[in-house]
């Protein structure tokens, strides 16, 4: 269908609703946050309009630098683990019969309905000494006595991967379903074992999808702030936790805003870098 390019202002009317929503719910709050990040903090939880960069300066300390680094590494690790598990899984899922696919997708969707709180407490029970999974390993002779698997980085990763995995699978699924199944068969007739064909052809052929999914899970994991608190020690707290801490418990709005702005900028920079690297390879 060929459509006329819009000519009068009225032709842009359909855009008004999304534009207003975007302005009200994204541009305004975000601008407010940027503004607040330059305000001066008052004792007692208030702040006055000003233009100081103290908030950013304070952020550039070793402590918060470390927290930022940890948050980014955690999000990257979660993204990589999720895609590494979800990609082969989803690929095999698309090869299964329709019924199997539907059952799996329904299960995954039901995991999506769980909130971060429920996931966090469920895993904290599962990893606990008194009621955790280790109690099952003792009778099996795999462990001498039950022990607590949390708090710890392993527990944090498990919880976050568990939370992000359904999203990862649902994002990968359409691309993998549409993938020409004869690609792998062609590779096999040309002498590649199924495994070699999978890593040599299927994975590279879907590189763009994989990169996009990595970015999505990365951004998703970056925002996680309940799971690190429930399942981790204070040193496993992400920047999101500290932002919440500053904003709510320390009543330091300007500093919290500065951290949030910084986090957004760093994430954008990382995403941009990934796209740039990915895009360049595409041409070569």
């Amino acid at each position: 269908m060929k459509r006329e390019p819009p000519r009068t202002i009225a032709d842009y009317a359909p855009l008004a609703f999304p534009a207003i929503m975007l302005i009200v719910f994204f541009v305004v709050p975000f601008s407010t946050m940027i503004a607040v990040s330059f305000f001066r903090r008052q004792q007692g939880g208030f702040y006055t309009p000003d233009f100081v960069i103290d908030n950013y300066a304070r952020f550039l300390s070793a402590f918060f630098g470390g927290v930022l680094g940890f948050s980014l590494m955690l999000a990257i690790t979660v993204a990589v683990i999720c895609v590494a598990i979800a990609f082969p899984f989803t690929y095999l899922l698309t090869k299964a019969s329709r019924r199997v696919q539907i059952v799996w997708l329904v299960c995954l969707l039901s995991v999506l309905s769980l909130s971060e709180v429920i996931i966090g407490f469920a895993w904290s029970t599962l990893f606990s000494r008194t009621a955790g999974i280790t109690n099952l390993l003792v009778p099996l002779g795999l462990m001498s006595e039950s022990q607590a698997l949390l708090p710890g980085i392993g527990a944090v990763l498990t919880g976050m991967v568990y939370q992000a995995l359904p999203y990862t699978i649902l994002v990968l699924y359409p691309a993998l379903v549409r993938l020409d199944p004869t690609l792998l068969e062609a590779a096999r007739t040309l002498g590649a074992s199924p495994l070699r064909g999978f890593f040599g052809i299927i994975v590279p052929a879907l590189r763009n999808t994989i990169v996009a999914t990595l970015i999505m899970v990365f951004v998703f994991a970056l925002g996680s702030y309940l799971l690190p608190q429930i399942l981790g020690r204070p040193q496993h707290w992400t920047l999101s936790v500290h932002i919440t801490d500053q904003a709510i418990y320390q009543s330091n709005m300007p500093f919290a805003a500065a951290m949030a702005v910084f986090l957004v900028l760093i994430s954008l920079a990382l995403v941009g870098l990934t796209l740039l690297v990915g895009g360049r390879k595409e041409v070569a």
Partner: protein
């Protein structure tokens, strides 16, 4: 025996036999076209040769060796898929070099072989192009080159030309045939275009409902179809019932056909006669009386539809032979006995 042999090969999906006890032997270097209506099991049979589908029963022998237990990637065959399955993220050269890379051939040698193959398919110097920038016919050729890169013992193609327009398809048919003759490689092409089969094949295999109905040279398939299914599927034909009368003459539409007799013990059957073998005459003696209902003048040939007591007989003539037959005319339809093939009903 050198070549490809099918021994009682079947493939069942649940209770449904997609391929049903196929027996066939293909001498080395033969160009085989598998022909048949949609869903008759051609692709399934081809995929079993490639090892992409496991046979339910039977064995497939290549040069005397049972290849049924050999996994696809060790069968040393080249296959062109209907979708072509070119690797979208690789260039033309990288696609063609993929099987060479798998065998860890030296880079220099790879390059030489790729250029050699691209010359073979008339695309020299295309190595650096991305496959997405090629035309349909060029992609076709690249898929062929990639499949031939390792000089396989078997070359399998599943409806390789169906996506091309008619003109390009005919050109590619000739090219494919010439390429196969040059390389002397045993080739199986699946198609449902019978012209394509006639153009290329040494051996045409007509399949129906998972079984082989007839396997013979193109001209034999055309001239001596084994049954009504084959006669009807290959080209157009007139299928008319025939009966033996008490004097032993063969009666078609109430008229005896001089010189034609039914095999012993057959009282009733069918004859297949090609439209170009049917003679139409005005006011001739003998033959079947009929009335011309429609004439389709295609320029090079003329199709005349004759209604003889409710049965339509089609005759094809050249404009020169047409005479003064017009729609509505009464004609005598003459069926030369030597052009009639008697088939079981």
């Amino acid at each position: 025996m050198s070549g490809l042999v099918f021994n009682d090969v079947s493939k069942h999906f649940g209770n449904f036999a997609a391929v049903d006890r196929v027996n066939l032997s293909v001498p080395h270097g033969t160009f085989v076209c598998m022909l048949g209506p949609s869903g008759c099991g051609k692709t399934t049979l081809l995929r079993m040769v490639a090892g992409l589908e496991e046979s339910t029963t039977g064995t497939i022998l290549l040069d005397g060796k049972d290849i049924t237990p050999v996994p696809t990637h060790k069968r040393n065959l080249g296959m062109v898929f209907q979708s072509l399955a070119l690797f979208p993220h690789l260039t033309v050269g990288e696609n063609v070099a993929y099987p060479l890379r798998i065998r860890s051939m030296a880079k220099e040698e790879q390059k030489k072989r790729v250029e050699e193959l691209l010359t073979l398919i008339h695309l020299p110097g295309y190595a650096e192009r991305p496959v997405s920038k090629l035309s349909g016919g060029q992609r076709q050729r690249v898929a062929i080159a990639r499949a031939l890169a390792l000089s396989p013992r078997l070359f399998l193609l599943d409806e390789p030309l169906s996506a091309l327009d008619a003109k390009l398809r005919e050109a590619m048919q000739v090219e494919l045939r010439q390429l196969q003759q040059k390389l002397g490689i045993t080739t199986i092409v699946v198609t449902h275009d019978q012209r394509e089969a006639m153009t290329m094949a040494d051996l045409v295999v007509v399949m129906g409902d998972g079984r082989i109905r007839q396997a013979a040279s193109p001209i034999d398939i055309y001239r001596k179809p084994a049954d009504a299914f084959v006669a009807d599927f290959i080209g157009s034909t007139n299928l008319l019932t025939v009966e033996a009368d008490s004097a032993g003459r063969a009666i078609v539409l109430g008229q005896p056909v001089p010189g034609l007799s039914l095999p012993n013990g057959m009282a009733k059957g069918l004859i297949s006669i090609r439209p170009e073998d049917v003679h139409l005459a005005k006011n001739a003696n003998g033959g079947i009386r009929g009335k011309v209902t429609f004439i389709r003048d295609l320029g090079g040939t003329i199709e005349t539809f004759v209604d003889a007591s409710g049965t339509t007989i089609v005759a094809v003539t050249t404009p020169r032979e047409r005479g003064d037959i017009t729609a509505g005319a009464e004609v005598n339809v003459v069926l030369p006995a030597d052009s009639c093939v008697v088939l079981k009903q």
